[in-house]
Subunit: 455 residues, 2 copies
């Protein structure tokens, strides 16, 4: 979109009219191309309902800046109309004094539910949920419920799941999909449309990964968040679960890449933040990798006698790291998707052992062949004992690839066992672990094979 010089009232009215002809998600894209104060001006000219709907979209960038640029009374009006979960998200990102001022001007009920949502830790069902759901007492009929839904439709985030409460205790009894309701007998009691098993629920502290897993498993459109006596606190809807799933997988890839997770788009990350998120792990890995220098110092006698061995150090180390990162990528997904449980570790180890031996064998044969070829073609002279050198490289590859596969597959289990995210088993982390031991394996094999000849 061309950068507009300034908006007068006429052009704002035209933009607003055009906005109503498009999907709210497209409005969001258009606003993302504007400066926050311009976006605020457009929002002010839109019907309140649409402006609220736009602010409710998680894809809208710079929401805090836009809200700060709104006239205070408009801001309060729009915030009161927003879904409670989105408003809470917004308040999380606002800073004082605007934050306190806006919160203070909201009506007591809205402020209460927003403050309650703000109290839940991030990445829990509580932080994802909204308080706008449809609930009816179990004494109602199907027809009463449908009539009620028609009335409250506009003010609820979803009406595709209806939550039936005990009229006396107000505890959740059932969750009924709208589709069962509209094909049910109108005069039958609402519970006649329910399924014969209890509803799927989560607590406010359920991890968002687990929430996402339940949506996948049960093909839900919304899940009830309940407290420990079964009172409903809110619901998580499928669109918020999808966003959570996506953030999870973004974080997983980034952690696996060896950095702290960053949710924002690339260009929204400030330079200092970028350095912090990346430098931490990089330094930890660097310090660990220093052990390779110590390992090599330990073998300095062998190194000086057989410099030819140094030529293959990068090749051998990287092969160990690569086989490790393969095994890790396979296992962190299987653990995240709950295809594997913690106690499956020994079955995985029994599987990775022969896998590693075969893969290492393949690379070992290629390695031996490479040394022999260069020697025979006269490309490089590995010395009188080149056969033994080739054998050392080949045997080491079998050992290190097997070791890499084992370490790479077991590390996610170890991390999970001690309460860490298995995805923290980053490719660089595995490579570092394997590098140090790899050197030890290499020189140990060399000592066995080459003592009396080169060493």
């Amino acid at each position: 979109m061309e950068k507009t010089v300034a908006f007068d009232d006429l052009s704002l009215a035209m933009v607003a009219k055009d906005f109503l002809q498009h999907h709210v998600a497209d409005n969001v894209e258009a606003l993302n191309d504007l400066e926050p104060d311009e976006a605020a001006a457009v929002l002010t000219h839109l019907p309140q309902e649409r402006a609220v709907e736009i602010l409710d979209q998680p894809e809208l960038d710079a929401v805090p800046e836009i809200v700060e640029a709104l006239p205070a009374d408009v801001g309060v009006r729009l915030l009161s109309g927003m879904a409670a979960d989105r408003a809470a998200d917004l308040f999380r990102r606002l800073s004082d004094p605007v934050r306190s001022e806006l919160l203070g001007r909201l009506d007591t009920e809205t402020r209460g539910s927003i403050e309650q949502l703000l109290a839940y830790p991030p990445n829990t069902a509580g932080s994802l949920m909204t308080t706008e759901f449809v609930s009816v007492p179990s004494s109602w009929t199907v027809r009463q419920t449908l009539d009620y839904i028609r009335v409250v439709e506009r003010t609820r985030e979803t009406i595709y799941a209806i939550f039936v409460l005990d009229p006396r205790t107000r505890r959740l009894l059932q969750s009924i999909p709208l589709r069962r309701l509209i094909s049910a007998e109108p005069d039958a009691p609402i519970l006649s449309a329910a399924r014969p098993y209890p509803p799927i629920t989560v607590t406010a502290l359920t991890d968002r990964g687990e929430v996402a897993r339940l949506f996948r498993k049960y093909d839900l459109l919304a899940v009830a968040v309940v407290d420990n006596v079964g009172h409903m606190l809110g619901i998580v809807t499928v669109d918020d679960a999808i966003d959570a799933m996506l953030e999870e997988s973004t974080e997983e890839v980034q952690k696996f890449g060896g950095m702290e997770a960053i949710d924002e788009p690339y260009f929204d990350i400030r330079f200092g933040q970028m350095i912090r998120k990346r430098a931490g792990w990089l330094c930890v890995l660097f310090l660990s990798e220093m052990l390779t220098a110590s390992a090599m110092q330990h073998f300095e006698v062998e190194l000086e006698k057989a410099i030819v061995l140094t030529l293959f150090i990068p090749l051998i180390m990287s092969s160990g790291g690569n086989s490790g990162s393969q095994a890790t990528s396979l296992l962190i997904r299987s653990l995240a998707l709950r295809q594997l449980e913690l106690w499956d570790w020994w079955r995985v180890a029994l599987r990775e052992l022969p896998t590693g031996i075969v893969l290492g064998g393949i690379l070992g044969v290629i390695g031996v062949f490479r040394v022999a070829l260069w020697q025979q073609l006269g490309l490089y002279d590995y010395g009188h004992y080149w056969v033994l050198v080739a054998l050392t490289v080949g045997m080491t590859l079998v050992g290190i690839v097997t070791f890499g596969s084992l370490v790479g597959s077991m590390l996610p289990f170890v991390l999970q066992r001690f309460g860490f995210d298995p995805a923290s088993a980053s490719a660089p982390f595995v490579a570092t672990l394997v590098d140090v031991t790899g050197l030890v394996i290499y020189f140990s094999v060399a000592v066995v094979i080459l003592t009396g000849t080169l060493l």
Copy 2:
């Protein structure tokens, strides 16, 4: 679950009764713990509707084996009841002669729609879609539509999106969410409930990643798949979009880990398949990494003169690889989520350059400090010129981390530009690229700093 010895008819009837008291997703979990022939026996004893619902769940393992174990007439009956998309998925995994036999015994209409779905390439909207959707002519009223939905509810995968067709051309005019319909005026024409912009549609060949992106952006529950003149071929529902999203992110992590993608759970992968999926990339990387041996042979004179330099080779190479894999993990997610476009590459490069220099500077300082510390504490003697050695290591780290960040961030763009999946920019691939150049940088810096002293 304990392994059951054998099922007699009585216990089967009890299991079947128990199944009806639980959610279908829990039935699936229970069946996954049985042998295929036992699972088939349970399915035979369940009411057809529930058995079909179970077979419709993508989480059910070993479906082909279960179907093969069913009596042929039961198999045909259940298959006819299944959602067309799930039935097509099943046929993709069945093998002859069962496949041809079952397909031949289906009625013409069912067979036709399954064969049509089978024709779409994997990972496209066509392969995800189902043909069971609700469509009505635009000449109908809201009430007529609601009455119709009540009748067909059971036979449609979703009723939460209603597709309105031109009665003459049968082209798609609008997609109306059920929630708008039930709060609409009953006697008004159906289109009065529509929004003032055209429906979101995809073609049968739209990539599943793009389908998932549209679900996220527009918070859809179903999207219409249309041909090039606007006739509806089917719909993709949100639960299938979620499964597709998940497979995408699994493949992304696995590719980034340096292997071919595998969708099946870990223990369902046969040994030979596991070796094939992992050996390919491992060999390619190994062959590329052989260039490190060649690079080192090139510098053999320097190596022999200054063995002390070899001590830092693993440390330096891994730092380059780590910074590269960080940058790659950041960029492949941004590209996948469309936060970045292809032409943003130079802005990213301009950002990664200073980032790399700062990160490299941090590691460089630590590296220099490490050498100085060991020397001063007498832990290791790096020789007379240890200050110059430390300087070489420090300068190299700045160079290689900067280079790693640039290569790691640009590779996803290059791959996308040439039509490959940016996620193929695996951590090991980036590390390999950086390793070879890293050695060249190291020895070049060494030649500049150490010539006349050590070299």
